[in-house]
């Protein structure tokens, strides 16, 4: 018999013996798959979010300059933009106007952007897809805003941004600069922050230092820093969810350890019979190895496939709220299915490999004892 056929025979026997104890092994696979499912879901989800975040930030300005007042983020005067524009290596400085508006009637926060070259009239507004759906308190078809003075002004919706942009534009409302200043009471010549373009990435650090030196009351934020912050936030959130599930995982591992390390009387009996029938110790070990592999691989595949479906087909319904963010208006976007092979491999080695090996040790202990003793003891 060739060694391949021999292994096939072992596998055949193992699977048949697993099926014989259907309920017990089924429960084990199910519990195991559930743990893999939870961990893989968090992994897939945070990876997808990170990729999505990077895609969004790829279009973000390389350098944003904010003014600080008593340690808090404050508006920045236009004169800062002029002096920063004069720094060598800076190709463009764009003063930006944006902020948040809390709509009490619908109980949601919207991001509002004021554009100096807004294509529509001052009493018109452009809305992101989710914002257009969420903003329900219309008056004569106009979006009603409470200005900083307490009176209200209406804006006629003229355009809804396309769905494709929703990750960045979901809760977005765009109005003209004049309208923005009217609603929020921002004085003329003051802006929210400055977006600075530096053509040569090698010069970024020097430009940042010069801005800091020239305007000590500002805080220049490089895109790289934002990327790093996002990374750590996602990592932290992912970690938090994993900690919550760690209890479940631990319970399972104790159960699996118990099941795998201590053989039941029935199993010892089985090994005794096999040895009496002329099986070698090595044969028993190979059989047990196949058994461990069959259980852990099945669970691993079930768990990861379920996690994939959960995250990418069902939008991670179980814990999306915990992972996505703080905004009241949840951004609704399908996650692009990105799976990191390294992470998958790590999960594989953390789940399949240890289980397969810990099942072999007790089998080996039972297999090296005399079959007579083993059977008598049970």
């Amino acid at each position: 018999m060739s060694s391949l056929e021999r292994q096939r025979a072992f596998l055949d026997y193992t699977l048949a013996s697993l099926v014989r104890r259907k309920a017990k092994n089924g429960a084990l696979v199910l519990a195991y798959a559930l743990v893999v499912f939870l961990i893989a879901s968090v992994m897939f989800f945070s990876r997808a979010l990170r990729t999505e975040g990077q895609a969004v930030l790829a279009g973000a300005p390389e350098l944003v300059v904010q003014r600080m007042l008593a340690g808090r983020f404050d508006t920045i005067p236009a004169s800062y933009a002029d002096s920063i524009r004069r720094i060598r290596g800076v190709s463009e400085v764009e003063p930006r106007l944006w902020g948040y508006y809390f709509n009490r009637a619908v109980g949601a926060t919207f991001t509002v952007l004021g554009l100096p070259d807004f294509a529509h009239a001052d009493d018109e507004i452009v809305a992101g897809p989710a914002a257009a759906k969420a903003w329900t308190n219309l008056q004569d078809g106009r979006y009603l805003f409470r200005t900083f003075k307490g009176d209200s002004t209406g804006f006629k919706p003229v355009q809804v941004l396309p769905e494709e942009t929703r990750l960045v534009s979901a809760d977005l409302l765009i109005m003209s600069e004049t309208a923005f200043r009217q609603v929020f009471g921002l004085p003329e010549g003051q802006y929210t922050d400055l977006a600075v373009t530096v053509r040569n990435p090698q010069e970024m650090q020097t430009v940042t230092e010069k801005i800091q030196r020239e305007h000590p009351d500002t805080r220049p934020i490089q895109r790289e820093e934002i990327l790093r912050t996002y990374e750590s936030v996602f990592e932290w959130r992912g970690g938090m969810v994993i900690v919550v599930f760690a209890g479940a995982a631990l319970a399972f591992f104790i159960f699996a350890w118990d099941k795998a390390t201590g053989l039941s009387a029935e199993e010892r009996h089985e090994i005794g019979i096999l040895k009496a029938l002329g099986w070698d110790t090595a044969d028993v070990l190979v059989m047990k190895f196949w058994e461990g592999l069959a259980i852990s691989l099945t669970s691993f595949l079930l768990g990861t496939i379920a996690a994939y479906a959960h995250v990418f087909l069902a939008d991670a319904g179980l814990f999306a709220q915990a992972l996505k963010g703080w905004s009241v208006l949840y951004v609704d976007f399908p996650l692009s299915p990105v799976v990191s092979p390294t992470e998958l491999l790590a999960l594989f080695f953390l789940s399949v490999a240890p289980y397969t090996f810990i099942t072999v040790i007790p089998a080996w202990r039972a297999a090296i004892t005399d079959p007579d003793t083993v059977m008598r003891a049970s």
Binding site: R88, G89, S91, R199, N200, P201, Q202, E203, T206, K210
Partner: protein
């Protein structure tokens, strides 16, 4: 007569095309390097180092890419050494990427700062800048040693750079 009239727009078009080709800005004449374009001096693929790119436009319209002004100067000093049979006369124009704007400028027009802390893909570089004032400012910001013009750059100086 009729035939000549019919040809007129064509001739005019060709004339326009020709004048457009003559007045072509640098960016049009210098297409970005492909994945397989190598620097003839060091043999590295240049596409990854666009910020430092230097170009030699040849008299036959072909283009050579260098992954930094330093390698370009090395090539110009002794082209036959790097491409056998290549004559200095085959080079029509030389361009370097200006540090701040990353736009190609004529190598003869640039001011070069030596000994700065801005490293290119081949280490120490001669950093090209558009004006004397830019070069002075850059030298101060990046601890450069001196500002050089095209004519100042000799093989001995290139050797001392590394």
């Amino acid at each position: 007569m009729k035939k000549a009239l019919r040809l007129a727009p064509l001739v005019l078009g060709l004339l326009l095309l020709a004048s457009a080709a003559l007045a072509q800005p640098a960016a049009l004449k210098l297409p970005p390097p492909g994945k397989t374009d190598k620097c003839p001096v060091c043999g590295m693929f240049v596409a990854k180092y666009k910020d430092w790119l230097a170009y030699a436009v040849l008299t036959d319209g072909k283009l050579l890419y260098f992954d930094g002004p330093k390698d370009m100067f090395r090539f110009v000093a002794d082209p036959g050494h790097y491409l056998s049979g290549f004559k200095k006369e085959q080079i029509a124009e030389l361009y370097v990427s200006e540090f701040y704007s990353l736009k190609p400028i004529l190598a003869q027009d640039a001011f070069y700062v030596a000994g700065s802390d801005a490293y290119g893909p081949m280490g120490h570089e001669l950093v090209p800048l558009a004006t004397q004032a830019d070069a002075e400012a850059f030298r101060k910001d990046h601890k450069g040693k001196r500002v050089l013009r095209y004519g100042d750059i000799t093989p001995a100086l290139l050797k001392a750079l590394d």
